[in-house]
């Protein structure tokens, strides 16, 4: 069998579908799926996005939309008020951007508000808030990009290592001062020669003769808070002898205090945006780090790094949504008052379209972020790395487009420094770059999912030799797979939130058009990504097994045609969302490319 034959098969869609669907359907039962990672608690299916690759929609994970209790809701509202007040009255974003510095009074205010230890548990002096609450506060903090990045670099990545992988002694020693902001944290992974290729870092930690210290040597770049951090999480290569006696260079994570000496911070980088955030080079010259300061196991640092980055990513969704909502507020005031051709701007279709785009994006970003945060807040140790990556990619790109559109509404005025739009534009460009570039994350989403699906399918489908190697280089294909999945997840989030809104009758009439337009738009993006290419990349079939309620027109779509339609969006018109709870919606992802090639 070769590619061509499979493509030929797939063109006669029925056969192709049948061939692979049989296999897929059999595996698509959640309770039969083996758990790939060891979870500390019960083995419930904790992967939503990964199972999408198998054509299984784990409805229990995403429906109903995560809700928080009344008490928590009251608490969030209480928290939001002083933070909003602070940002409206005491934060001069223009000055911060102009002087490329956050004034000490502002930093002090943030520290006193408690914003430096949002997720640090109460026993260590922090607020101990859940991911959902963190996301909610992120919406407000994002009003100033520099402050948002400073706080995120400190707590979402800087001290996260100690929080999630540190031992009790390390937590007791470092977290209290970090939570109050007395010490600021930084995350040091990237090097001049190792950006996206994080596993290739060259900074070295050699064990001293007496075995009590590691000597750290190397240099890092693009370190946020690098100039003012007292505690840094540094990743370096260490020599590790494995059980076979073979010596290997593996990455370890260290807690490094500036007080140890030998740390030199370079001058702050002159950046396009987030200018108030301190970003600089950090050089380590024989810095003595006690062996007690290794986070986790020696040699297991890369895993720690990935876990840290995965755990903070989802908040970009709500941060972006908060920013867009603010932009809508500012822009709509302008559009409602400015007149041209003797009509208000808000009466023109193209301007209205921009508002629609902004509103839809904000809705989707919010839905995705809080869905992911809700999943992460559930008991057990959920692996939401894929979902978080999807949120990040969608939100960064959505945010970029929306800021641009908002600026466009103001035309020439938006282009000047008298208005904050150009600053928002510059600040939000970084979102596509840091915390994993969108290109890398797309590869990650596609490959991780395929790897997961491949492992499970390999055992089930009776065909010789499934090979994964060559798919890794097919970036254009992977990009499309990732786009499809991101949009699917976005659709899921929107539907989940909308179905909850409707079922609790929360302004159903208003939300419905938003939901419909959202899902419609997302499925269009999905179909664009899934468009049949001459290399026979990917086909997405959405099938609903049987007519559910009388009058619902359920159709089956097959890959015979080039266009692909996600049927979910039709249903809100015909009935309420209750049907989604009752019936299986099976998504079959079929790749006719190398992954299933022989």
């Amino acid at each position: 069998m070769n590619i061509n034959k499979i493509i030929a098969l797939s063109r006669s869609a029925n056969i192709g579908k049948h061939l692979l669907l049989c296999g897929v359907r059999q595996t698509g039962r959640a309770d039969q799926l083996p758990q790939r990672r060891s979870f500390k608690t019960h083995a419930r299916s904790l992967a939503y996005a990964k199972d999408l690759f198998l054509g299984q929609v784990n409805k229990a994970e995403v429906f109903p939309y995560p809700e928080i209790g009344n008490e928590e809701l009251e608490e969030i509202n209480q928290f939001v008020a002083p933070v909003e007040k602070f940002f409206n009255e005491d934060v001069d974003s223009k000055k911060i951007d102009h002087e490329a510095k956050i004034p000490p009074e502002t930093l002090d205010g943030l520290k006193q508000l408690g914003l430096f230890g949002i997720q640090v548990p109460e026993e260590y002096g922090g607020l101990g808030l859940s991911n959902t609450m963190y996301a909610r506060l992120g919406e407000i903090i994002s009003l100033d990009g520099s402050i948002a990045v400073t706080l995120a670099a400190h707590q979402a990545i800087g001290l996260k290592g100690i929080l999630i992988a540190g031992n009790e002694a390390q937590k007791q020693k470092y977290l209290p001062k970090l939570a109050t902001g007395e010490h600021i944290a930084a995350f040091c992974l990237t090097e001049p020669g190792s950006g996206s290729d994080a596993a290739s870092i060259q900074t070295r930690a050699t064990l001293s003769e007496d075995g009590k210290h590691y000597l750290l040597n190397g240099s890092k770049i693009w370190i946020s808070n690098g100039g003012m951090a007292d505690i840094m999480t540094v990743f370096a290569r260490t020599e590790v002898t494995d059980k076979n006696g073979v010596k290997q260079d593996k990455i370890s994570a260290f807690i490094v205090e500036r007080a140890y000496g030998g740390i030199i911070s370079g001058k702050p980088e002159d950046k396009l945006g987030i200018r108030g955030s301190n970003t600089c080079e950090v050089a380590f010259d024989n810095v003595p780090v006690p062996v007690e300061n290794v986070i986790g196991e020696v040699g297991a640092g890369f895993k720690v790094a990935m876990n840290i980055l995965n755990s903070g990513r989802f908040s970009m969704g709500s941060a972006g949504a908060g920013m867009i909502k603010k932009l809508i507020e500012m822009t709509s005031e302008y559009a409602a008052t400015r007149k041209q051709f003797n009509r208000k701007l808000s009466e023109f279709g193209m301007i209205q379209e921009k508002f629609a785009v902004m509103a839809m994006n904000a809705f989707v970003m919010e839905s995705m972020a809080y869905l992911t945060a809700g999943m992460m807040d559930r008991p057990g140790v959920p692996d939401c790395s894929l979902e978080a990556a999807m949120v990040k990619v969608f939100s960064s790109e959505g945010g970029w487009i929306c800021v641009s559109e908002a600026l466009q509404v103001l035309g020439g005025l938006g282009y000047t420094k008298n208005y904050p739009y150009e600053r928002y534009l510059r600040d939000c460009r970084i979102l596509l770059i840091f915390e994993g570039t969108n290109e890398i994350l797309r590869m990650y989403i596609a490959l991780t999912g395929m790897q997961y699906a491949g492992k499970i399918l390999t055992g089930k489908i009776n065909c010789p030799a499934f090979r994964l190697e060559t798919i890794v280089d097919e970036q254009l294909v992977l990009k499309r797979v990732a786009d499809v999945l991101i949009n699917l997840y976005a659709m899921t989030a929107v539907l989940s939130r909308a179905s909850r809104s409707i079922s609790i009758e929360l302004r159903p009439k208003h939300d419905l058009p938003v939901i419909l337009s959202n899902v419609h738009r997302l499925r269009a993006r999905c179909s664009k990504a899934a468009h049949w290419s001459s290399r026979g990349c990917l086909s997405l079939i959405l099938t609903v097994p049987a007519p559910l309620t009388p009058g619902i027109n359920v159709s089956h779509f097959q890959t015979a045609s080039l266009s692909v339609v996600a049927e979910l969006y039709l249903h809100p018109l015909k009935s309420d969302f209750a049907f989604l709870h009752q019936n299986t919606v099976a998504i079959h992802v079929i790749s006719f490319h190398n992954i299933y090639t022989l």
Partner: protein
Amino acid sequence: MSGRVLVGVKRVIDYAVKIRVKPDHSGVVTDGVKHSMNPFCEIAVEEAVKLKEKKLIKEVVAVSCGPQQVQETIRTALAMGADRGIHVEVSGKDYDNMGPLQVSKIMAALAKKEEAQLVILGKQAIDDDCNQTGQMTAALLDWPQGTFASEVTLEGDKVKVVREIDGGLETIKINTPAVVTADLRLNTPRYATLPNIMKAKKKKIANVKPADLGVDMASRVEVLRVDEPPQRQAGMKVETVEDLVGKLKEAGRI
């Protein structure tokens, strides 16, 4: 002296919100509108907490009258440093008709019950602008009052109050127990920081009904109609002073 200070806080529509009149002109739209603590009440709470921090008084009790939602306002006061709260439950028609007279009767009853040394209130609320509650409370208790305070100093069993009045600043010395109402420049209220909000969750809020205090909530005032202020009319430009005088005469103004 008991060392206890009573602070009244009122939940009002947030100062930044654009007020809209209800279509039936019976009042303003309050549903779904952002509410927060009256700014002058914030200043009052801040002053009380400052006195406690200076160890001049022992306990700060925050009081608010209204429906369930005022508990948020009391919680904000607790987060700013008050020790405990008292929620006087008033809802429905009673709440709609509640004015300074009813509130001052409640405050007077509570001040006696709690044996307060000082009652600090905001000088007025930004929704009704009455500027009466503090004065009425003092009268009902037959206590001295220091209103429009821009500076408050405790000196033994007396209070020195610097008042902002039309003519300038007036300094008076009054005996305790007394009622003080806070003006704008008394202090700058602190933010209720998130750690303090969390600590405030553990502080107690007692529930009381006006009937328990022997207060009659009946209103002597009936609101007939609420209207928006008249739209500002366009002005007119004139060339000379004679024109101006002529136009003014025409309009019957002079």
